[in-house]
């Protein structure tokens, strides 16, 4: 409403837009009252311009000057009319506003007046209400005043009434208790007594009450006595028992004593079970049948009395009809009995005990005594003590399980044993009993493996004894060379001694079968349906350390070692071990090295899914062991056989007077024997070992003559030796000869084939021959006899060896040495030698 505003309005307000104009007006009002939210920018933009007609710094002088300077006359005129128009419209707006405000003020005044009238009316009514309330209060006070006396009287009367009722209850109490006692309603009696007890206690100084109290006490004592009796009898059901205990507890019986009583009572029953078990452990007395059946009657009765036992396997399944009454109960039966009698009774005791003492809702003063803790402690000690005894019995029984025939019984027994202990674990979570049980199972398994190993070892030794006997059995052929003929014919005759290959295959097959069956038996320990098979021991250590190492590997080592012992203990004289056994064992070990060990170990690993946590014996190490054993055995075989032939040769050389011998007519019998024995050894070795490689030899080896030395070389060697200078030459010759021939290793290791074995034996024999010959002195015919003998050996021995030159060389040496040791070296004609040898 300022003049300024009026003057400026026309410059900015567009004449046609009404809402916009209105806003503008509002805006300006706002601006005026400092509420600038919109138009702020405008305000700032315009703020500094003195020509802005709506700006705060508007300067009319400047504005006018500006207009005057910039606009033409016409424009000025238009500007003026426009401004006038705006001023007018502003005026009219103002008027409208003023009018509206006036109207609103009028109506507000009216409303206020009307309110004033209404309040006055209300005030009157409130006054009226307060007077009415005062009168009501007055009336009420008067009524209560009149009723006061009667009310007091009624209260007193009712008090007396209740007192009388209580007194009546008290007076009737002894009778009531007696009645309860008669009816055995112990619970009621106890609750009644409890209600009265405090009162009686309080008024015990009054004689009448005292009497009552005494009566009650007497009765309650009797009741407690009866309850105790009942509790002690124990024959009552669990529910009864628990009630009994509860009542006794309410009668202020000390809980500890009750626990002890309960447990000792249970203990006597469980001990009876244990004694029954122990009776079975004792060696069967003369009255065998009763020893087994007698303990049964007791538990059987009890089991029928306690239907809650709920054992999955009824006692009926125990009475194995197949068991002859005189024999002792087998382990499964034993464990079954232990489970059904002892463990289930124990579970029952634990369960009822817990229900009685541990899990009972505690109320009143009993809660403060912390009974569960004490009770649990007692229970643990009780269970532990009994379980220890039980375990020791079970262990004793398991230890008696020596026979390795059927493992399934033991495993099943252990499984049952273990399974039933889980019930204890469930009932008594903190107990060490189940873990001890698992320990026992683990120990049993370990023991079992040891027993199996021992069984395998004794089986192996027994098999060897059998083989020994089979070898010692007299051969049908009679002659030692007849071994070969049995190869074909042995299958027909039942009594005919088995041939070496048959013995070998039987031996190795039976050993393998035995191992397999043992593995199968041991495998039962890890069967899926066995509860303890998922224990970590049975998953890991049992498989890898127990079965693989302790059982399989140890057995293979044992085989190798026991085989080796044959080489050592037998002594060098040939000893007690028959050579054929050495040969057979060597082949067995070799077979082990090539295939059997790998097979057995793979089988084990597969069956037991062995995961090797700890380092285990490698297959290669075992194979090496076996090969070493095989080599040693074969070497020993060669040594023994060589020694046998050597002894023959040595005796033949040592015992003869070579100086005074007659002209040779025959090959000496001992040489024939040597060839015969060598042939039979050849046959024997051929049965088990392959032929092997020999160096190519001339087609006519048997015909090779000794002319090399006996005529030409020997002539050069010995004939001219009468001249003094000659010996140097002969020595040189023989030395040169030796330079070009390889050194002969006599007791050298042999290869695993026939030729090598025979070569070894022949080497040993011929070398002995050589050394013996060198220790003797020969006459002319002595030398000739040796010549004949050597030619004979030459004819037959070349075919056995890998390199016939070796035989030639050694025989040359023998004849050469003989010639040296001869007083009258006059060799025999080669043709004569041949004739003699061919004649045989």
């Amino acid at each position: 409403m300022d003049g300024d505003i009026n003057a400026t309005a026309p410059g900015t307000t567009p004449p046609d837009s009404d809402p916009a104009r209105k806003r503008r007006v509002h805006g300006m009002l706002k601006l005026y009252y400092g509420l600038n939210e919109e138009g702020k920018t405008v305000d700032q933009a315009e703020s500094m311009d003195p020509c802005d007609i709506n700006g705060p710094h508007f300067d009319p002088e400047v504005y006018l000057n500006k207009l005057r300077r910039e606009c033409s006359l016409g424009e000025l005129m238009d500007q003026e009319t426009c401004m006038v128009k705006q001023i007018r419209s502003l005026d009219s707006d103002m008027q409208t506003l003023v009018y509206e405000n006036y109207n609103k003020f009028i109506s507000a005044t009216d409303t206020i007046r009307k309110m004033k009238n209404d309040f006055k009316k209300m005030e009157d009514e409130m006054d009226c209400l307060s007077t009415n309330m005062a009168s009501i209060t007055d009336f009420s006070a008067r009524i209560s005043g009149t009723l006061q006396d009667q009310h007091a009287q009624i209260t007193k009367l009712s008090g007396v009434h209740t007192l009388l009722r209580k007194l009546q209850f008290l007076f009737e109490l002894p009778a009531r208790l007696n009645k309860c006692l008669e009816l055995q309603a112990y619970a009621q009696a106890v609750s009644s007594h409890r209600r009265a007890r405090c009162v009686l206690q309080q008024y015990s100084h009054m004689p009448s009450f005292r009497g009552i109290q005494d009566d009650c006490h007497a009765i309650m004592d009797k009741l407690a006595q009866e309850l105790r009796q009942k509790f002690r009898d124990g024959g009552s059901s669990a529910k009864d028992l628990s009630e009994c205990v509860e009542l006794l507890l309410q009668l202020d019986e000390p809980a500890e004593e009750l626990c002890d009583k309960f447990l000792s009572h249970a203990q006597s029953r469980l001990e009876a079970d244990l004694l029954g078990l122990e009776a079975e452990l004792r060696p069967p007395l003369s009255s065998g049948p009763t020893a087994v059946t007698d303990p049964y009657t007791g538990p059987a009765r009890r089991l029928s009395v306690e239907p809650t036992a709920g054992s999955p396997t009824g006692p009926s399944s125990l009475n194995n009809p197949f068991l002859s009454p005189s024999s002792r109960t087998d382990i499964l039966e034993f464990i079954d009995r232990g489970c059904n009698e002892f463990v289930s009774s124990l579970c029952l005791v634990i369960a009822s005990y817990q229900e009685l003492f541990v899990n009972r809702p505690q109320e009143g003063e009993l809660a403060s005594k912390n009974i569960p803790q004490m009770a649990i402690g007692k229970l643990h000690a009780f269970v532990d003590a009994l379980a220890t005894r039980y375990f020791s019995l079970v262990e004793r029984r398991i230890q008696e399980e020596k026979s390795v025939g059927d493992n399934s019984l033991l495993v099943r027994a252990l499984d049952r044993f273990h399974r039933r202990l889980q019930a204890v674990a469930k009932l008594l979570p903190g107990s060490a009993v189940p873990s001890q049980g698992t320990e026992i199972v683990v120990r049993a398994a370990r023991e079992r493996i040891k027993q199996y190993l021992a069984a395998l070892q004794s089986f192996y030794l027994n098999s060897l004894t059998d083989v020994r006997q089979a070898l010692a059995a007299p051969r049908l052929g009679g002659s030692s060379a007849g071994g070969g003929s049995h190869l074909g014919g042995s299958a027909t005759g039942k009594d005919a001694p088995a041939s070496l290959p048959e013995l070998l295959s039987t031996l190795s097959a039976s050993i393998l079968n035995q191992i397999k069956s043992v593995l199968a038996s041991v495998h039962l320990f890890t069967a899926k349906d066995i509860t303890f098979s998922n224990k970590p021991y049975f998953k890991g250590e049992f498989c890898s350390h127990g079965v693989r190492e302790s059982l399989v590997v140890n057995f293979i080592m044992f085989v190798c070692q026991s085989s080796r012992q044959f080489c050592e203990s037998a002594g060098d004289r040939g000893g007690s071990t028959p050579p054929a056994l050495l040969l057979l064992l060597s082949r067995l070990c070799l077979d082990y090295e090539t295939s059997t060990i790998t097979y057995i170990l793979t089988l084990t690993d597969e069956q037991f899914l062995v995961q090797h946590h700890s380092p285990v014996t490698a297959v290669t190490a075992l194979c090496g062991e076996a090969r070493e054993a095989a080599q040693k055995l074969l070497n020993h075989y060669v040594k023994v056989q060589g020694l046998i032939i050597s002894q023959m040769l040595r005796k033949s050389v040592e015992t003869r007077d070579w100086v005074n011998t007659i002209e040779p007519r025959n090959v000496r019998a001992v040489m024939k024997r040597v060839v015969e024995d060598t042939t039979s050894i050849d046959v024997q070795v051929g049965l088990l070992y392959e032929e092997g490689v020999r160096k190519a030899h001339s087609s006519d080896s048997s015909k090779r003559t000794f002319s090399v030395y006996s005529s030409s070389r020997q002539q050069t060697r010995y004939a001219p030796s009468y001249t003094p200078s000659a010996p140097m030459d002969t020595n040189l010759l023989s030395n040169i000869h030796k330079l070009f021939s390889e050194r002969v290793e006599i007791f050298s290791p042999v290869e695993f084939n026939k030729v090598s074995v025979l070569t070894g034996i022949i080497k040993i024999s011929l070398k002995t021959f050589l050394e013996c010959v060198r220790l003797r002195t020969f006459g002319r015919y002595g030398l000739q006899q040796i010549q004949v003998d050597c030619h004979y050996l030459q004819m037959y021995l070349w075919r056995f060896v890998s390199d016939e030159n070796l035989v030639h060389f050694l025989l040359d040496e023998i004849v050469g040495s003989t010639a040296h040791r001869c007083l009258d070296p006059a060799p025999m004609e080669q043709s004569v030698i041949e004739v003699i040898c061919e004649r045989g």
Binding site: D572, R573, N660, S721, N735, R774, H820, L823
Partner: protein, 397 residues
């Protein structure tokens, strides 16, 4: 290593026991056709020269030789005597009963032998004019059978010898400058079959009152005062026992060897088990000898043509080697630690000598130089070897 060839086969070897300056070995040849000889082998260690002189032993082929411990010139031999010669060499021997017997005799070397001895072994004239041994006495007693060896009393005055003949052990007293021999006592081995002593050794311990003998597989000990058996190791070897030797420094220790290719060491106080067994040879072991000074050095010869020198530290009289001298060593040397680690010495094969081409029947340590030994093979080759220098210093220092 020095080699020497003889013309003839030889089995008998000994060192000249009484000689402590010169390295000297005696070798007896074994030939049925020629006059047998005793070769005296001298080894000049400084100049590495071997010289040889020859003495004739016309009595027969020599199977065993041993030198007197007191008199350098006195020795005994066991030799074969063929009585066929009595009927002539004419080859008609089948008509007569010829016999070969082994005898023992004590000989004296002629005093002049050394004068003509400095000839080279290759000299063809070395056997031109050989001198003869002078026979002192026969150790013969026809009722006692063939003598297999003669043993001098160790470290004695050369007055006592024992001869082993078949199953008899005869103790002889030599009197009147060894020209008279009388049997002072004898022991006889009784038993089933034909028992025969194959080897024996006179123990240098216990005042030389003990003798060890071998027959077949058994080793027996005898007390010479009573001529009774004091111990018997039955089955000492799997086969024949070929030789024995006493440890010179440990009185109860005995080495034996035999046809089972083994060398065994025994403590005669506990005869159930050998103390140690060596199985290095691949054929019969014919000879075993302890070194006289350092008994850990054991020499063996075998018919596999090898000589093996073993270092048996664990059972020797100096089991700790140079332990005593260790402190002295550590003062001078920095490698004290190395020495320490080597301390527990193992029994080991020092060396295997393969120079021989034929069976080695005898090995012997020199009596003058403890680091030197000779071995003799059947083809008549004598090889003289030294203990490896490194080992020698190891033992000495």
């Amino acid at each position: 290593m020095y080699q020497l060839y003889f013309v003839l086969q030889a089995r008998a070897l000994t060192s000249q026991t009484a000689e402590s300056d010169a390295i000297r070995f005696l070798v007896g040849t074994q030939s049925l056709k020629f006059d047998n000889q005793i070769h005296i082998i001298d080894f000049d260690d400084e100049n590495n020269i071997i010289s040889k002189s020859v003495l004739q032993h016309q009595a027969g082929e020599i199977w065993h030789i041993s030198a007197s411990p007191a008199d350098k010139a006195v020795l005994t031999t066991c030799y074969n005597k063929s009585e066929m010669d009595a009927f002539g060499l004419g080859g008609v021997s089948d008509t007569s009963e010829s016999r070969v017997v082994t005898c023992g005799a004590v000989w004296r070397m002629p005093p002049e032998w050394e004068s003509g001895s400095h000839e080279s072994p290759d000299d063809p004239h070395n056997s031109h004019n050989p001198q003869n041994l002078e026979l002192l006495c026969h150790l013969d007693n026809s009722s006692h059978g063939n003598a297999s060896c003669v043993l001098w009393e160790p470290m004695g005055d050369g007055k006592h010898v024992i001869s082993l003949a078949d199953n008899h052990a005869l103790l002889w007293d030599l009197t009147e400058s060894s020209t008279q021999a009388t049997i002072s006592s004898s022991a006889t081995l009784e038993g089933k079959g034909q028992l025969k002593f194959t080897a024996g050794k006179w123990s240098p311990h216990h005042n030389c009152t003990q003798l060890a003998t071998a027959n077949d597989t058994a080793i027996r000990g005898w007390d010479l005062r009573t001529m009774s058996q004091i111990y018997c190791i039955e089955n000492a070897h799997g086969q024949l026992v070929r030789d024995l030797d006493f440890n010179p420094n440990k009185q109860y220790y005995l080495a034996s060897c035999g046809d089972d290719c083994k060398v065994k060491f025994w403590d005669v106080r506990n005869i159930n088990e050998p103390v140690k067994t060596l199985e290095e040879h691949s054929h019969w072991v014919w000879s075993v000898r302890f070194n006289h000074s350092h008994d850990q050095l054991v020499l063996t010869g075998s018919s596999d043509s090898r000589v093996i020198l073993s270092n048996m530290v664990s059972i020797s009289s100096e089991p700790f080697g140079h332990l005593v001298d260790d402190d002295d060593l550590s003062d001078g040397e920095d490698n004290h630690q190395d020495e320490k680690t080597k301390e527990p010495l193992q029994d080991s094969i020092i060396s295997t000598y393969e120079e021989h081409e034929d069976s080695v029947y005898a090995v012997e340590w020199s009596s003058a130089d403890p680091w030197l030994f000779a071995s003799l093979s059947y083809d008549g080759r004598l090889v003289i070897n030294r203990v490896p220098r490194a080992l020698k210093y190891h033992i000495l220092l």
